[in-house]
Symmetry: C2
Subunit: 211 residues, 2 copies
Amino acid sequence: MAADRETVRGTGLTKRGAVTRERILAAAADLMYAQGVGKTSLGDVMAASGTGPSQMYHYFADKDALVDEVVTTQIQRMLTSQRVLLARVDSLNGLQRWRDAEVVVARTRRGQGCPLGSLASELSCQSEQARAALAAGFATWQTLLVDALVRIRAAGALAADADPSMLAAGLLAALEGGLLLAQITREPEWLEIALDAAMAQVTAGAPAVAQ
Amino acid sequence: MAADRETVRGTGLTKRGAVTRERILAAAADLMYAQGVGKTSLGDVMAASGTGPSQMYHYFADKDALVDEVVTTQIQRMLTSQRVLLARVDSLNGLQRWRDAEVVVARTRRGQGCPLGSLASELSCQSEQARAALAAGFATWQTLLVDALVRIRAAGALAADADPSMLAAGLLAALEGGLLLAQITREPEWLEIALDAAMAQVTAGAPAVAQ
DNA sequence: GGTGTTCTGTATCGACCGTTCCATTAGCTG
DNA sequence: CAGCTAATGGAACGGTCGATACAGAACACC
């Protein structure tokens, strides 16, 4: 009976409430990326977002719920940016530009790894829900790469026996591994070498002319 | 001559003390690998090792000191096993056996990533000392691979323009990235695909006959 | 404008965790 | 045996963190 009046657009959230919720979520995502999920207390998030316990627990059931939302937020961020970077890639040169963009991004956030990779490493043995969400995120990320590779193949710039699915998996693994080693050693070259090795797999046996 | 009667050389540790210390360290290493450093309390370690607070703080100054020791322990474990696996590798077939061994090891500890990679991801933004130690560990791990690749090259089974250092970096990055993705998706194939891509880089342009 | 819901401030609780202290036992040294 | 240091047992403390309770303020809607 009361359900139809006060609730705004499905969720029982008013405009101000949605803003506050988003502020908490953004602060939590940034802090948990910068210093890890375990080292980020709700007090840290409240301080960074200028909120109190009442607001925190008004919008999130508990810390686990907040973490889960942070995970989906980071996945969405990553997939959105990757969709932009990969949407129109249909040539080896285009894929090379994607590689260069990843290197640039990694250099800007020097010292910190992949937002998804960090969460994955920390949460995969703690939260089955987070693990599944991240697995799904990486899977669709892979499909974005596969789609680009298929377009490249359609343009005749890929070897006949090339497997887009495996090439995409190799690119993703090289990216994650390269980012991890670059983070530890503080030498971004690790990422470049790793990505170049995976890129060489893509261009291997490709028709010489087409690019 | 007078010092090392019963107390273990240099350190003021008796035989029994060294055993207890090692017991604590082993339990801490296992727990921190299984559930992460942050989620492992000293109480967990004490319970798993059958010790109390007095022994814990008798052998380790604080938790950070214990973590640092765990890091060096895991690095030693990894380098020791890698030295065995890579010591006599001097052919592409030998390197392939190393690849297969890594895949087998990864399947045995299913669900969990690389012992060094996990520590690296969690500690690199928390402890500069741990980060530096892990960076050094990965560096010597790379040299083990480089040495093997140089031996392969000496046997004439590598392309003339092949760069062992870069190939080793690509192998390591593929291993770490493949392990991370295999851990998240619970699909060990990610590691195989990633390693095969890096291996293809090694064999690319190699003389056909020599193996 | 009145009313009920959403939102926010504050005070606080209980559990856990890292850490310390003190007392006692075991074991080597002379 | 005497005497010293290492090794152990156990209780307890201070602080932090996650979580709750309850108040009042802001706001949407009729």
